[in-house]
Amino acid sequence: MTADAAFQPTRWSLISAVRSGSAPRVQAALETLCATYWYPLYAYIRRRGHGAEEAADLTQAFFVRVLEKDFFARADQQRGRLRTFLLTAVQHFLRDDWQKQQRQKRGGGIVPLSIDEAVAEGLYAHEPADGRDAETIYHRRWALTLLDRSMNALREDYAAQGKGEVFEALKSFLTVEDEEQSAAVVGQKLGLEAGAVRVAIFRLRRRYREKLLEEVAASIDAQTEAEVDEEIAALFRALS
């Protein structure tokens, strides 16, 4: 396992480390795993018809289940996308086990996550009110989370270099095709020449692309570019 794998906790390889690794590392990995997936799972559970309080409880209970030793043993066997695996797991959890799980586990063991219902509901209020099913919501939310994680990582990089302002001024160019005109306007704001702005935009695009592809590759523990491409296609579908 490489040193930076601890910071890429969406990887399958890390999940196997969860079972065998040292306690602090496992803890860090799980925290990030929870932080990444809790809301897509919460939104899924909510859309399945559970109330806010219940959904928060179930999400936390599910993560307790995730902590159990045999949980990822099964994950390894069916080695697919973690996102899909977690979805299947939560479906299973809700369908068959949740009563039992609730009784046995709630209040005991390490709870890696505490969900603030107000926050969760605040987010959920933004979910489309149309007839989309829970699964669609889950995948969509996951795709947004991934885009957002990449964006946050990029923002932190810029901030670390004291260029937070540049990031904020230029980030809108990440979705703009024709950048010539607005580049000049932004340039005036930042006190940069148009050429320099163009270069800065190019770099921003390049780095966001890097971050995103890293996130995607890490999330599926991709071995090949084809796998990454496939996952990107899935992200597009999730966002449609």
């Binding site: 925290e31 990030t32 929870c34 932080a35 990444t36 809301y39 505490s114 969900i115 603030d116 926050v119 605040g122 987010l123 933004h126 489309p128 795709a143 947004l144 989370t145 885009l147 957002d148 994680r149 990449s150 964006m151 946050n152 923002r155 270099q161 980030k171 809108s172 990440l174 979705t175 703009v176 095709e177 020449e193 148009a194 050429g195 320099a196 163009r198 270069v199 800065a200 190019f202 770099r203 695009r205 390049r206 780095r207 966001y208 692309r209 890097e210 995103l212 592809l213 570019e225 990107i232 992200l235 597009f236 966002l239 449609s240």
Partner: protein
């Protein structure tokens, strides 16, 4: 809560689908650089207030080059500008500066000097460099202005430059004809040392991001390990040098199962070995140091044209051919060809030419390749008889003169001052649309029997073969261009003018030497060989 979760349908206020679409679009750096609009002369002037920017003189795969004047030092400079997009990240500037310092330290007569480097306020990377007034090798190859002797002279100097750089730990990485400049003064200068790494850095930083196979520039000259993106050393330059030498000799790139140079063009077969060894796939099978290449090239150069050689064997073969010819169907003309004399002397007059002594009129200069390689005469606005004496004095026997000639355009004209017996005659080429022998029986070339309105090729080099053969009191003069008969004249020696100056103004200080001439300039003459028949 560990992490902020995106709200609603946006990511940092952006449309997620557009974000994903744009982020997963490959960043085509090559296309971006192609689309790059270099600053205008005025814009560049604003970026470099201490320079007088004169003109943009080149636009390459990864930048633009401008000619400028630096008034403070009263010198001409070249400004090489690279788009800021090649800078992969913010740490780039520091690495760029470190590398540029190493390049600036490469001070060598055959390396384009770097005076300054940095980034403009608009984000471009720039180099302020020595200005070389002259074409690059790619142009010389394209216009066939590179006879083998000159190709080897240039190659030797490129080797020298590379050796110097390699000894200082600098690899060129992009040896190709476009990066070898040939000044009008004859100087050979290698440009863009190490520049390719900025390009490759931009590629590497984007390796999984650009579409597969995106290569900026031409990979034709790249060593296999370079093409594969593996670590490379000085031997990658040796590979590229091999490719370039092949191209200089044959005019083509060695592609696929390439043919040895000597099988394609008349050139020294020993060069096949040099090219083959330089272009080995495995670096350990190549020349290990560029000095080895240079030594081989110089050996071949030194031995290529023996000053004197005995051609007894040729004579014997000719006699046999003549005998067979009597039986077989050999063209009559061939049968009449006199048996070559048994001894001949080969002279390369340019190699012994002292321009200051031998120029009679006009600003004759040494062009690419240095002394003794290419004689240039710049276009002049005035039409005057420019002439030069060649240090060759043919005796009573005949002689053959061959050379490469470049007439720049339709305004260029060239002349060869020939001599038959005691008579001197000028061969005029392309003067106002016609050619011929200066004066025949008192008539100027336009009207005399030697004249032709056919034109020697312009804009590209051609091979000129002239044979002057006395046959009793007759003399024949034949002129072939690229192997095709252009002028053929035969008559009594007395028909050729005894005028002092054939044609107008081509008077020479002595009667014995051959010479070169032109009225309007715009010519280059190289690879002059004279065979004196005895």
């Amino acid at each position: 809560m560990a992490e902020v979760v995106p709200t609603g349908d946006q990511v940092h206020g952006l449309d997620p689908r557009a974000l994903l679409a744009r982020a997963t679009q490959p960043l085509d750096l090559a296309a971006l650089l192609r689309a790059w609009a270099p600053p205008s002369v005025e814009e560049l002037g604003a970026l470099f207030p201490k320079l007088e920017v004169i003109a943009m003189i080149g636009r390459g795969g990864m930048g633009a080059v401008y000619r400028a004047r630096q008034p403070s030092l009263n010198r001409e400079v070249a400004v090489k500008l690279l788009p800021g997009e090649v800078a992969a990240d913010d740490a780039f500037a520091a690495r760029f500066a470190a590398e540029a310092r190493a390049l600036a330290a490469l001070q060598h007569p055959h390396i384009v000097a770097i005076y300054e480097y940095g980034q403009t306020s608009a984000g471009h990377l720039f180099f302020l460099m020595e200005y070389v007034d002259g074409p690059d090798l790619a142009r010389l190859i394209a216009t066939r202005e590179l006879p083998p002797a000159r190709a080897l002279a240039v190659a030797s100097r490129v080797c020298e430059a590379l050796q110097f750089a390699h000894e200082r730990g600098v690899i060129h990485r992009d040896i190709k004809p476009a990066n070898v400049l040939v000044g009008r003064d004859g100087a050979v200068k290698v440009a863009d040392f190490g520049l390719a790494q900025w390009r490759s850095e931009a590629d590497v930083a984007d390796s999984r991001l650009t579409t597969a196979g995106t290569v900026i520039g031409t990979p034709d000259y790249m060593a296999p390990e370079q093409r594969a993106g593996r670590t490379l050393d000085a031997r990658a330059d040796i590979y590229s040098l091999g490719v370039m030498l092949y191209e200089m000799l044959t005019g083509e790139l060695p592609r696929g199962a390439w043919e040895a140079p000597s099988r394609k063009v008349p050139t020294d077969a020993r060069l096949d070995g040099v090219v083959t060894k330089a272009m080995q796939t495995e670096p350990e099978n190549r020349f290990q140091e560029v000095s080895e290449v240079r030594r081989r090239v110089d050996e071949i150069r030194a031995s290529r044209f023996p000053r004197k050689r005995i051609v007894g064997i040729v004579a014997a073969v000719a006699v046999v051919a003549g005998l067979i010819g009597g039986v077989a169907l050999v063209p009559r003309e061939k049968m009449r060809t006199p048996v070559p004399p048994t001894e001949e002397e080969m002279i390369e007059p340019l190699r012994a030419l002292d321009l200051r002594q031998e120029s009679v009129a006009g600003d004759w200069q040494w062009g690419a390749g240095g002394l003794g390689e290419i004689l240039r005469l710049e276009r002049t606005s005035t039409h005057s008889a420019k002439r030069l004496r060649l240090p060759v004095r043919p005796g009573a026997g005949g002689y053959e003169l061959s050379c490469r000639l470049l007439l720049e355009d339709n305004l260029s004209d060239a002349g060869i001052i020939l001599r038959t017996g005691r008579t001197r005659v000028g061969l005029v080429l392309n003067l106002q649309g016609s050619s011929g022998l200066g004066l025949v029986d008192g008539e100027r070339w336009r009207r005399n029997s030697s004249s032709t309105t056919e034109r020697a090729p312009v804009g590209r080099g051609c091979r000129l073969d002239i044979a002057v053969r006395p046959e009793g009191d007759q003399v024949s003069v034949s002129v072939r261009i690229d192997g095709v008969t252009f002028i053929r004249w035969k008559g009594a020696q007395s028909e050729l003018s005894l005028y002092e100056a054939p044609p107008l103004g081509w008077a020479m200080p002595d009667d014995d030497s051959l010479g070169l001439a032109s009225y309007s300039g715009g010519i280059e003459i190289s690879d002059v060989q004279v065979r004196l028949l005895k």
